[in-house]
Amino acid sequence: MEKELRLMKGNEAVAEAAIRTGADGYFGYPITPQSEILEYLMVADPYKTTGMVVLQAESEVAAINMVYGGAACGKKVLTTSSSPGISLMQEGISYIAGAELPCLIVNVVRGGPGLGTIQPAQSDYSQAVKGGGHGDYHLIVLAPASVQEMADFVGLSFELAFKYRNPVMMLSDGAIGQMMEKVWLGPQKERSKTVPEWATTGKPPTRERNIITSLDLNPARHEIFNQKLIAKYNEIKEKEVRFEEFQCDDAEYLFVAYGTSARVCQKAVQLAREQGLKAGLLRPITLFPFPSKRINELADKVKIILSVEMSAGQMVEDVIISVNGKVPVFHFGRMGGIVTTPDEVVENLKSKIKGD
């Protein structure tokens, strides 16, 4: 089957891509601005075609624990939510990381804290990248910047999740979730019949029983487990960094931005160049692992780095660590559900150049 071109919202693209990539189950709870995902799946009713289970849970807490149960059976399962709902899921996410279960969690971020707003924001960066739940763990975090990537990253997320036995978060935002763009969708894939050796599917006489747990009361053993997790995260840092560069070759001024802000900054690069400022953009696609090495290399060539985020400045901390004092690093961003404009970004860059 050929690829198919559709005009869709980012949220709908996630739902359709989940069906097409052969997901086994979706468990979610309605919350703005991502309820279209659950609605789309309920209309599509994939149980009748692919056998994919779709269930509206009684809460985000239940939804993430359904994901735990499904993932522990070796199934391809996902949940989606938005910021307040993702906060509720943090307990389950920590357990999933601790039990080393593969799954996909999509966060269509809205402004916070608290109920905040239903408008787009990027203020859940630290929660997604640094932890969120308790304990030493990391999610693999992918940041889509288009409806196309909302679709493409579903399959990629499952690939990475199963490769590393690690939960993957797609950190989107209300703008990409709600906006419509054309999107190429891949052909329908069969649901996998492969059962991972660790999965709990009922113990046949041929193997030992499988136990999925994050508990070990023996400190020496548990530290070894912690070290094993760290080794895994280091391998991920080594092998899975993804980013995109836009006009960085001759850039004197570098924007670092992901998701919706990266779209804004791409335009800002053009505007800046029209005004004689050689700007470039580095767009992290993976937020964990963060493209620190490349940002550090670019810091040798540029004069100023501006981290542009729809937050009070969260990713900028990782940019500062990456740059390690080579050049000044600044943050610019709007909050409260306001999407930064390209003009604002250029004006801010100019003020930083002037040293305001």
Partner: protein, 263 residues
């Protein structure tokens, strides 16, 4: 010596009337002497073995005294976060409807922090078995008040007795879930006498058979003792349970299906 007492002549296959189920592992149980958990585990393991469900069974252990249940019964297990077992079971059963899926939860796990997951799984009529051990106290954390702690009952967080005006009344979760259309078989049993052990085993067997019918949730409460938490000897605790727990949590079926189980 053996010849003299005749033991050797008695230990013969034809005289064997009970043996440990193969599904109970040789791991040492972490329970206090006299606790009901060990008996409940054994019954569960026996039913799984006798119903030939080992390769179908996926159990979910709770947070509480029975957190290490997965060390004791030789089947596949998932360890849930506190109270979330019915959510895990929901997904497992929906993704693999042919499997035998059950949770095993204490009163803190099921009736306090997991109230929502319990009620909604039962209300959706998930085809799972929920085993609910109710000893009216938080055993593992050291004897704190549970949602099922009786009025006036002492615990480390109700040291002067549970004052229902301040601390609320005990929650009868089994009575609540029996009212939900999603439940198929709801019963309350105990494991403190041989007769009750037999009844409880029968209930677990029925639930295992009912699950094959896909009719809804089976829910078995086992009112149990907690000698350590109640600060009594095992014998005293069983007596106290009969005199105090059973009047408040009466044993017997709360909801019985009309259909007969499949053979």
């Amino acid at each position: 010596m053996e010849e003299a007492t005749g033991i050797k002549s008695i230990i013969r296959p034809e005289n064997l009337f009970y043996k440990k189920t193969k599904l109970m592992t040789d791991n040492v149980l972490s329970y206090c002497p006299g606790c009901g958990h060990g008996t409940a585990h054994r019954l569960l393991a026996e039913v799984i073995e006798e119903e030939n469900l080992q390769s179908e069974a996926i159990g979910i252990s709770p947070v509480g005294c029975s957190v290490f249940l997965y060390y004791y019964i030789d089947i596949d297990w998932q360890e849930a976060a506190h109270g979330r077992a019915p959510a895990l079971a929901t997904a497992i059963k929906r993704l693999m409807p042919e499997k035998f899926v059950f949770t095993y939860q204490g009163d803190g796990d099921l009736a306090a922090i997991g109230t929502s997951e319990t009620i909604h799984a039962c209300n959706r009529g998930e085809n799972i078995l929920i085993i609910f051990i109710n000893n009216g106290i938080y055993g593992m954390t050291g004897g704190q008040m549970a949602p099922t702690t009786l009025p006036g009952m002492r615990s480390s967080t109700s040291p002067y007795g549970r004052d229902v005006k301040v601390m609320g009344n005990p929650l009868k979760m089994t009575d609540i879930v029996a009212t939900l259309p999603g439940t198929y078989y709801v019963t309350r049993q105990s494991v403190h006498t041989p007769a009750n052990v037999k009844k409880t085993k029968k209930a677990i067997r029925k639930a295992a058979q009912y699950q094959k019918l896909n009719k809804g949730t089976c829910f078995i409460e086992i009112v149990s003792n907690c000698p350590s938490g109640w600060k009594m000897t095992p014998v005293e605790s069983n007596k106290w349970m009969e005199e105090n727990m059973f009047p408040f949590y009466p044993l017997g079926d709360l909801k019985v299906p009309e259909e007969k189980p499949v053979k």
